[in-house]
């Protein structure tokens, strides 16, 4: 697992209060991890803070799985 993936998963576990083994790369935040729209906003803000990236609204809308988040962060972090 990449370093980004580990840090993303840690944030997801902390924010959503879910078991770590449920946070697979294919897991959907809303369908599999029980997130609501406010959770997504909180996660996006936490990712921005953790990785120093900016995730604009149109990009955030396309992030629906853990893998989507990791891929976006890996291709945009400095």
């Amino acid at each position: 697992m990449s370093e980004t993936a580990e840090r993303v998963k840690k944030i997801v576990v902390e924010h959503l209060g879910v078991e770590a083994d449920k946070v697979t790369e294919d897991a959907s935040f809303i369908d599999d991890l029980g997130a609501d729209s406010l959770d997504i906003v909180e996660l996006v803000m936490a990712f921005e803070e953790e990785f120093g990236v900016e995730i604009p609204d149109d990009a955030a809308e396309k992030i629906s799985t853990v893998k989507d988040a990791i891929t976006y962060i890996d291709s945009h972090k400095g």
Binding site: D36, L38, E42, M45
Partner: protein, 246 residues
């Protein structure tokens, strides 16, 4: 009941008449405060009067960058958390609409409505994280009834009510309530300056037969800030001696 021990609050416009009564009410219930205002001398004097371990933060609410910085400053001064935000600061620039300048419109909207939005937006972050928050904005009876010469002020106060209803729905699932308190005629330097005839005309419209006091507003805010008011959100509590029943 309504014990605020261990809770922290940011109160804007805290050195004014109603603002200082709100600050005193919250402090009396045990909350630790960051009081904000634009006049250093008045604010420092009020902090002295308040005693205790409260922070005074100067902020010009007509400066968007300063407003955006206020909540982080308050969170830092209050030991890392903010439970209660009271948007109390407000200005008037009264004029009949046909004579109202763009500046008079813009300043009132900026200080009374836009600054409140910016402060709530910034507060939502620590409050969401804490899964607790109380946002209380001081609106006015004229935001619901209107008042000639106050198109700008009435619009800003009605705006607070609508905005609070939207935010109440956005934030309810995180145990954050968003409410308004709408004072009627409250005793102040402004009402003291009225002559007997003007006073009589106002009192004739108030079933309670008297003007309200800052303490009446402070008590309403303390209630909405309390844990006991957790199921009340998106509401406007009118405190006006019956002059308007809405």
């Amino acid at each position: 009941m309504f014990d605020l021990t261990g809770m922290t609050a940011l109160v804007t416009g805290a050195s004014g008449g109603i603002g200082s009564a709100i600050a005193k009410a919250l402090a009396a219930q045990g909350a630790r405060l960051a009081i904000s205002g634009s006049n250093q001398t008045k604010l420092d004097a009020f902090r002295e009067e308040l005693g205790g371990d409260h922070a005074a933060l100067i902020c010009d609410l007509s400066d968007p960058a300063a407003v955006d910085g206020l909540v982080p400053r308050a969170v830092e001064a209050l030991g890392g958390k903010l439970d209660i935000l009271v948007n109390n600061a407000g200005i008037t620039r009264d004029n009949l609409a046909m004579r109202m300048k763009d500046d008079e419109w813009n300043q009132v909207i900026q200080v009374n409505l836009e600054a409140a939005f910016r402060l709530i937006r910034a507060s939502a972050k620590p409050m969401m994280k804490a899964r607790f928050g109380r946002v209380i904005s001081i609106t006015s009876v004229v935001g619901v009834t209107g008042n000639p010469g106050q198109a700008n002020y009435a619009a800003s106060k009605a705006g607070l009510i609508g905005m609070s209803k939207a935010l109440a729905q956005e934030l309810a699932s995180r145990n954050i309530t968003v409410n308004c308190v709408a004072p009627g005629f409250i005793r102040s330097a402004m009402t003291d300056a009225l002559n007997e005839q003007q006073k009589a005309a106002i009192l004739a419209k108030i079933p309670a037969g008297d003007l309200g006091s800052g303490e009446d507003i402070g008590a309403a805010v303390a209630y909405l800030a309390s844990r006991e008011a957790g199921y009340v959100t998106g509401q406007t509590l009118h405190v006006n001696g019956g002059m308007a029943m809405i």
